[in-house]
Every structure is written in C-alpha cells, then in structure tokens.
Amino acid sequence: MDFYYGLAQIIGVHTLLGLSAYMVLLTGQVSLAQAGFAAVGAYVAAMLTVLAGMHLFPALLIAGIAAATIACAVGFPALRVRGLMLVIATLAFGEAVRLFFFNFDYQIAKGEVRVGPLGGEGFRQIRYFPENGWTTFEVMLLIWAIVAMVMAALWWMDRSRTGAVLRAVGEDELAAQSVGINLTAVKVSAMAAGGFIAGLSGGIYAHYTTHIEHANFGVVLATFAIAYPILGGLSSVFGTVIAVVFIQGVLIEGLRFMGDWRNLLFGALIVLAMNLRPHGLLDPRSLAMLRRLVGRA
C-alpha cells in the first residue's frame, strides 16, 4: 500500500508544480524557471524546519513567500522580453538558481551530526515527518489537502474576472493594454502566484524525500512543469491534473516493467501527443463535449 501512497505523493507534488506553470501560462508566458522556484521553496522550507526547528506549516508558508518574492524579481526584467526570449531567460534563471544551490554551503552542528545544505552533496536528513511520527498515509493526505486547496483557488479564479483578465493578456497583450489592463501588474502577479505555488511544491517535496540536491531541480523538472499544463490544455485546471496522472502514474510508474525503454517512450510520447493534439489532451472542444455529456446525465 505504501507504494501507492508514495505514488500519490509524487503525483500531488507534480500537480502543484504543473499548476504553478499553468498560472503563468494563462498570461501567455512560458516559464522554465518553475523548477528554480521549487528549489528555492525546498531549500528554504527544509532549512527552517531542520536548522531553525520551525513547525512545517509556517515553514511552508514562508517558503512559498520566498519563492514568490524571487519570482517577482524575475518577473520584472522578464517583462522586457516576451515569447521565445522569455523561455530562454527563464531557462537561464532556473539554471542559475540550481547552480547557486550547487555552490551553497550552510551547515550547523546539531547533536553529533552536522546538518544543512552542503553544495553538490545536497541537503540530507530532512527528517521532519519521521521525527514527528507522520505516517506515509498522513503525509499523502496533507499533500492532497494542499493540492485541493490550490486547485480550488485556481478554479475559482478561472471563473472570476481575474481569470478572464489573465487570459486576455495571454491572448493579445496589445489589445489588453488598449482596454486599460496594466500588463506589468498582471504579468508580475501571475509570476508571483506561480512562484508561490512552485515554492509550496518544493517545500513539501523536500520533506517527503528527506534529501534534496541541486540536480533534482534541473531543466528536466522545469520541462515537466510546463509539459503538464501544455499537454493537459489550458482550458481548465483539471487538464493539468489529468496530464500529471497520465505522465507520472501511467507513463513513469505504469511502464516500469519496460525498464530503460520507458524513458525513451516518454520523449516520443510528448512528440506524438503534440502532433496529434496540439491544443492539449483536454482542449476546448473536448471540454465542451464533456460538459454536454455531464449536462445530459
């Protein structure tokens, strides 16, 4: 059973990461920095619980705020560039964050062992859950409670005027400006909100794996983050969840029996999916169809 709880934890954390990219993608910005924001959240949260002995919840909150602050700082210069330039700029930023943690040492003695991040070695012994007697099941529940909250918030936002404004910016920046939308405010807020969610996902990730290192937060994770909402489609938050379950559950876990070939298949399936469904698995057409089906039932 623990295997499935573990899988549910992975899916939960990746869903959060995917939602953080979804938030930013709504405004038409493709950000490859989400893994970097997650890294900030992971290190900050872990340092707070391990080094400062803080409770997990405030630590997560602070981690999210730290990541959001960093995201704001990226958001401003990134505003000057758009489209593919932004992809590259955020990619480079994500890498810069990763390299920062690759070179980041901050250890203190705790009892007879030294704990804290140690450069390329990473940050070991993030033992908040075992020390406080959380079972895998409880950890999974916590993760999904957070996922549910974030999803509910985003789903609600999508239906509010804010959601429409974000999408308007994503559709046509010039026209959005011409109807009085403040581009800077909208794009930076979206970046910050995305950063907050990514920071949360990083903070939780650090605690359930107990060991993080810079290599966890590389380009591959950043790619996953934007792959979920793009594969799932931007019509609804549920597309992202479906994509995460599909990729993490079906492709990565379900195909474990294929051994090495599984990784090959992953890239190939992305290519195939984009050729067959360029607007995502859950595109507006299929969404409308689903609504009709549900409406009839």
Binding site: M85, F93, M274, P278
Partner: protein
C-alpha cells in the same frame, strides 16, 4: 596577466563551437519563428553517429568521422523537422516548443540507451605539440576547431547570401506569405533549413567531441543552455550576433572558470545573460525592421 590572456584565447577558440550552435538556433528562429530546443542534443547525436564509421572501417582517419557526423546530423535535422514541425499547425507555438523539448529528451535517451550511458572517446583533431607564442600557448587542436568552425560559418554565409537557395531561405524568413506567392515552396525551404543547420550542428558537435576527447549525453543540456544564451545575447535571428556572442561567451566562461572554478562559472554566464536582458533586451545586433 598572462593567465588571463591565456584563458581568453582558449575561451575564444572554444567559443566558436558555441557560435556555430547559436547560429543553428538563430537560423531556425529566423526562418520559422520557432525555437528548436532539440538542436544541441541533435548536434551531439550527430557527433555520436559519426562514430558509426568505426563499425565499417576500423582505422578510419578522424576527418572521415567528422564528415560522417556532419552528414548524419543533417539527416537527424530533417527527421526533427518532420516529427516536430511539419505537421503541427503554425498557430500552435506551444505545441512545437513542447514537441522539440520532448525530442530533446528522446534524443538524449536514445544516446544513453545505445551507449549504456558510458562516455565514448572521440578522435582528436590533432595530437601533436602546442604552438608557443612567447608565453602564450596555443592549443593546436583548439585552433583547428576554430578554423573548421570558421570555414563552416563562411560556407553557410555564402550559401545564404550568394545562392538562389539561400535567397529563398531569407525571403521566407522575411516575408513568408510573399515568398510563397513568388513560387517558393515553404515546406521545402523549411526542410532545407533544418538539414543545413543540422549539418552545421553536426560539425559543431564533432568539434566539441574532438576538443574534449570524449562524447557524453551529459554534454547536450549545458550545450542547449549555452547555445540559447548565445542566441539571445547575439539577438534572436541575427547570424553575426550569434558569432560574436559565441566568442564572447566562450571567453567569458573561461575567464570565470579560472577565477571562480568550474562549478561556479556557469552562474556568471547566466548573470551576463541577465545583464543583457535588462540593459539590452534586443541583443548585440537588434534585427532592423522589428519595430512593432
């Protein structure tokens, strides 16, 4: 002081490979207004495929390996065009971006799979003594890498500016609709661009392999990031920009490698990129006519 000069020289020489990779990114962007994220990985894959020669001809001289790398990389470029660009609607830029990222992962995995993840040794371009210029030591292999890349770039520029094919390519880059109305077949020009940049990438991949001495799938991600940085610093779509930026980044990273060590150097390259984004977002060579 001499150390600084030495690292700048080495960096500039190696920087030509970045320049060539940057040209590949920039050229595809110029023609299709899309980024091919898998380009650097495909270049490394091209270099790998050059090693296939050894299966047929055990004692093949390096030059044959390099030529095979370039040719097969051209083929890989065409395959990528078919798989990631040809059938995805122009109006879905996200889909193309995503599929080339998928392709990047796929290419890497194929290499890992076929080589069992072990680095393979790659023939050196020259293994004699270095040239000494006073206190400055010139690595002849790097010098040859520099020359090969220069020649490759010169040939590309000749093709682009002096042949009918090249003019068609540039016409498509500037006015796709008008170019089609003049009877230029868009898909054909796009395909040729991919073969051309693929070949160029193969040469860069081969030269990287030749100067490092080994090929490893671990090369492709950093090369992707470096290539993209070069493209941005040079100005998206600008070939001279990519050349200058490639040399600049090569020198810059080598100097910081000397000062701050190999683990930190790339962080400074990112800072350089950010400086450009903030102070000169159009890159070194802003493309004229992009005023809207």
């Amino acid at each position: 002081m001499i150390d600084l000069a030495q690292s700048i020289v080495d960096g500039v020489l190696f920087g030509t490979t970045y320049a060539v990779i940057g040209i590949g990114f920039t050229l595809i962007f110029g023609v299709m207004h899309k980024i091919n994220m898998s380009f650097a990985a495909a270049s490394i894959a091209g270099a790998y495929s050059g090693l296939l020669v050894f299966l047929l001809w055990k004692t093949a001289p390096p030059i044959v390996v390099f030529a095979t790398s370039a040719a097969l990389a051209g083929l890989i470029g065409y395959a990528i065009y078919l798989l990631c660009f040809r059938f995805i609607p122009i109006a879905s830029p996200l889909a193309t971006l995503m599929s080339t990222v998928g392709m990047l992962l796929l290419v890497d995995e194929i290499i890992v799979h076929l080589t069992a993840g072990m680095p393979l040794s790659y023939p050196a371009i020259y293994d004699g003594y270095p040239i000494e210029l006073g206190q400055l030591i010139l690595r002849v292999d790097l010098l040859l890498v520099f020359l090969v890349c220069l020649v490759a770039m010169a040939v590309l520029l000749y093709l682009l500016y002096r042949t009918r094919l090249g003019i068609a390519t540039r016409a498509v880059a500037q006015q796709p609709v008008a170019a089609q109305l003049c009877g230029i077949r868009l898909t054909q020009v796009n395909a040729i661009t991919f073969v051309m940049t693929g070949t160029l990438g193969g040469i860069a991949g081969a030269m990287i392999g030749a100067s490092v001495g080994v090929l490893s799938p671990l090369l492709s991600l950093p090369l992707t990031v470096k290539g993209l940085i070069v493209t941005v610093i040079g100005g998206l779509g600008s070939i001279p920009g990519a050349i200058v930026a490639g040399l600049l980044v090569g020198a810059f990273e080598n100097v910081f490698q000397m000062w701050r060590g190999v683990t930190e150097r790339d962080m400074y390259v990112m800072l350089l990129l950010f400086a450009f984004l903030v102070f000169r977002p159009g890159g070194l060579f802003r493309i004229a006519g992009a005023r809207d």
